[in-house]
Each structure stands twice: as C-alpha cells, then as structure tokens.
Symmetry: C2
C-alpha cells in the first residue's frame, strides 16, 4: 500500500476524467495533495470548491516540483503542446500518464517532447465517461468496473507501468495491456464508429423532420421510444473532442466506416430481396452476442 501512495498528484485538465481520477484516489486514501492545472478559471474554481483539487496553478515549474504522479487529462490535440511545456520541469521520480481516447498520436508526441522522461510515461485510456463534461460532472465511481487500457512503451520502466496499473485498479478499473496500434484499431470499432453512427442518425432525424413533419425534429423525437434515446445519448458529447478523435484516428476510423457500410448494405439487400430468413438469422446472431455480453457484464 505504501508504494502506491502519492504525496503530490498533479492533474492537468480537471474535467470529468481528471477530476474523477483525483476523487477516486482521494477516497481510496492514496493521495495527500492534489494540484490542478487548467484553462478555464470557472472550472478550476468548481474543482476547488468541490474539493477535487487542493490548489490550482498555471505555473508548470511549481506544479511539477516534487510531483509523484502527473495525469494529463486534456483533449488529445493539446497533448504535444502540454508535453512540450512540462518536459523541462519533470523530475526523475515523477511517473506520467494520460487518458487520451487515441494512443498512437500521444505516443508520437511523447517521443517528440519527453526526452529521457519517456521511460516513466505510460499511456493509458480509461474507457469511461458520460455525456457530461467538466469538474462539475466528476464523481469517484466513474471508473468502477470500467475497462482501462494501458499501452506501455518499450522504453518504459516496469516500475512505472506497475504504478499506473495499480492506481487505475485502485480507481476500480479493469486494467488490460495492448499496443497503441491495436488500441486505436479496437477503439475505432467499439467506440469511434458507434459515435459516428449516432451523430449521423441524429442528422438523419433532422433531415427527415423536414420531410415528415413541419421541420422541427423535436416533433418527431417526441414520438420516439427508448431505442432512439439510447442510440443517440452520446451525441450530447463534446463536438470538439469528437472532431479531434476523428482526425487523430482518421485512417482507422475510415476503414471501420467502410466495413460498416458494407454490413448495412448487406442488411438492406436482404430487405430488397424480401429474404426474411436471412434477416431473422442476422437478428438472431446479434441477439446471441448481445445476451452473452450481458452475462459477461453481470459477472464482472
């Protein structure tokens, strides 16, 4: 337990993820002091008021002095810039991690800017979130039973990897390891693509509202059941964040979208062909996977 204890935790970007990480570690009694760095004064004020952080600063030198652990919980696109700003102030005992939704570009930035400190930078991605953002939305249970993927680098010290893994486990996460490339491919399939489908679906409803209604999508949505509600919940997510994820994982996401479009065309063709048997078979196969997944979730 002693080795997991953090005297000084630095959270760069005290939003939903960074804030919840600090709260979870504090609740677990693993952290003594939390320093926050962030762009929005209102958000930092909220983080202070909610007791998520003990102090806020914009001074990297002061923040990183004596830090055991630094978490970058910022939009992926800012990673390179922030690494550049912090590199010269990093101490040799500081372990660094991030929470970016894409990993190859983060690793690229780390290689470019972290120098020798890369041995203690262990990239991570907690696959958790809500449609809300900011310190106000943070809560310590966010990572409970949620997957956390670590993509260690060949330059990493084993001790740094162990420390990052342990901290996420203490937050309730289910830690697994893979390469940054594999992470980005899998996430394109299970997260980035589904988001694109949800955004397109909302856009489709908007377009259809002009055809079927008087142009107000809310008239149509007022009739919608929980299926559409569930399928579009994630469209309330941050547009900037999703723009960046799209651009960061562009090639892989494009391949996933192409493959999905083929699947959807196959289903459509079954309908064109009036092939009710093929439709039922497809629906049954989907149902079986879904039910097995539900069992798996309930077991874990």
């Amino acid at each position: 337990m002693v080795s997991s204890c953090i005297s000084k935790l630095v959270i760069i970007g005290v939003g939903l993820i960074g804030g919840s990480f600090a709260q979870a570690l504090r609740r677990a009694g693993l952290v003594e002091h939390v320093t926050g760095i962030g762009r929005s004064p209102e958000n930092m004020q909220c983080a202070l008021e909610r007791g998520i952080i003990d102090e806020q600063t914009s001074d990297f030198a002061a923040a990183l002095s004596g830090a055991d652990f630094v978490l970058l919980a910022i939009p992926v696109k800012q990673t390179a810039h922030v690494m550049q700003q912090m590199a010269s102030y990093l101490e040799t005992g500081t372990v660094i991690s991030d929470v970016g939704s894409t990993k190859q570009n983060v690793v690229h930035a780390a290689h470019a800017y972290l120098g020798q400190h890369i041995s203690r930078f262990v990239p991570a991605h907690p696959i958790a979130g809500t449609e809300f953002s900011g310190a106000d939305a943070a809560f310590p249970d966010l990572f409970q039973d949620k997957p956390v993927v670590l993509t260690p680098l060949q330059e990493n010290d084993q001790q740094a990897i162990d420390r990052v893994a342990t901290l996420w486990q203490c937050c309730g996460g289910r830690v697994s390891f893979m390469s940054p490339e594999r992470h980005d491919q899998i996430l394109a399939a299970i997260s980035h693509l589904p988001h694109m489908l949800a955004f397109s679906l909302m856009q489709h409803i908007r377009t259809q509202s002009f055809t079927l209604d008087e142009g107000d999508p809310l008239e149509l949505l007022h009739l919608a059941g929980s299926s559409l509600n569930d399928m579009t919940r994630i469209t309330a997510s941050s547009p900037e964040m999703w723009r960046d994820i799209c651009m960061d994982n562009r090639t892989t996401l494009l391949a996933q979208m192409e493959a999905y479009q083929l699947e959807l065309s196959r289903l459509r063709q079954m309908l064109v062909n009036r092939d009710s048997e093929a439709l039922e078979k497809l629906f049954s196969a989907a149902r079986i996977i879904r039910k097995n997944w539900t069992v798996l979730r309930n077991e874990s």
Copy 2:
C-alpha cells in the same frame, strides 16, 4: 369514470405489452375481469400466477362473449389470422384495439376480416417496450409518459376512439393521432431504422472480432464502454418480431435506410476531406437537437 370501466377485458397475446396493459388498467381500478388468450401454456400460466389475467382460454366464442374491450397484443403478422378467428364472435358493444408496431397492414387486415365491426376497431401503437418479452416481463408502469399513437379509421365511431384514447391515458400514455401511413413513415425513421443500425453494428463487431481479435466478439466487447452498450441494447429484441416489422414496413424502411446511408457517406466524406470544421459543425448540430430533446423529455 363509469364510462371507462371495463367489466370484461380480453387480452389476446399476454406478453410484455398485453400483460402490462392489463396490469395498468387493473391498478387504475378500471377493470373487473381479465380473460387471456395465448399460444404458450407456460406464458399463460405465468400470467395467471402473476394475477395479470383471471382466466385463460383458447375458445374465442367464450372469451368474446360479453367483452367490453379486446386488445390484440400479438405479433403483427398474426393479426389477419386472429381477426378472422374472432370476427364472428364479436358483439356489437365490444371495442377492439391493437398494439402493432406497423399500422397500414393492420388496417388492411381489419378491412378484410372485421366487417361491420371495423367501426369499433381503433388501431393503436404504444411506443414502449423493453428488450424482454413475455408475461413475466410485464409491469404496470411500462406506458408511463410513453407515446401512444392512435390511427383512427374513417369508419370509426367517435365513442370507440374516445374509449381507446382514455384507456391509454389511464395507463399513463401520451396519446396522439395520425394516419396509418404517416405512422409507418415516422416509425421507420425513429424506430425501425435505429434497430437496423444496431443489428448491423453488432454484426460488424462480430466480423471485426475475426480481424482484430481471435474471433471471439466478447473479447472486443469486454473493452467497450457504455456507448456501444447503449447502442446495441435493442439487439436483444425478438428476431421474429423484427423480421416481421421489416417485411411489413419494407418499402418505407428501405427508403429510410437509403437516406441514412447518404448521411453516413456525407460524414465519411468529411473525414476523407480532413474537413474538421464540417465535422465539428455536424456534431454540434446533433448535440443541440439532443440537448433540446432531453429538456423536452424532462418537462413532459
């Protein structure tokens, strides 16, 4: 209140919808006796044990004798056959309704088989459900604040329309009226299409699991967050029911799928073009609709 009271309610098909309707009316004190007709002995036994129905029978003559209200809560495809079976036993005071997810075909069957009784057949569609089915899954709050679309026919008695509307309101539903054609178009957009997207997404994950993993979709799903979970929840729905909905609303659904595929291709083209501005604009527009919808839901 007296005019809404039902001495004898007949539920044909005591599943999630039929069972919940009976429970809601019983809880509201609006029904004295419930007779159930169904195919599965196990399900009917469950309905009896849970007190959803007071008696079960397979004898249409006995069931319909003295019935005030008959609800057809069966798969849409069986509607014509059941209407044919019941037509000769219907009494002139009996109001009839259904719960089918598509309406033009139900109206077609009613015209074919109900004869003069069509004046008291008011088609309805409660837009409520869960991924579970059967009497075991029924619960009286299922329709609370849920949309219920009535598609009255020009042959309908106003009294019959009023009665059906009132009963659904007493179940907690938000009743609205439209033509069967418009119903089928709107439902294709807000329900049938989303289901197709979810089924294709699950099939896509299955396909991708062979590329990205060792062929077990559960390995991929184990890493998935709540976004994929929400987007595929409805794939646990009955494959037979969705096969039938697809075939019943085939032309309209095909048009919706085509329009959606164009939207998805537009989004993909933005990504091909590296047009991050257009992506952000699209995501923002979706977010605004979603947020307004959430406000609307919370108000209603």
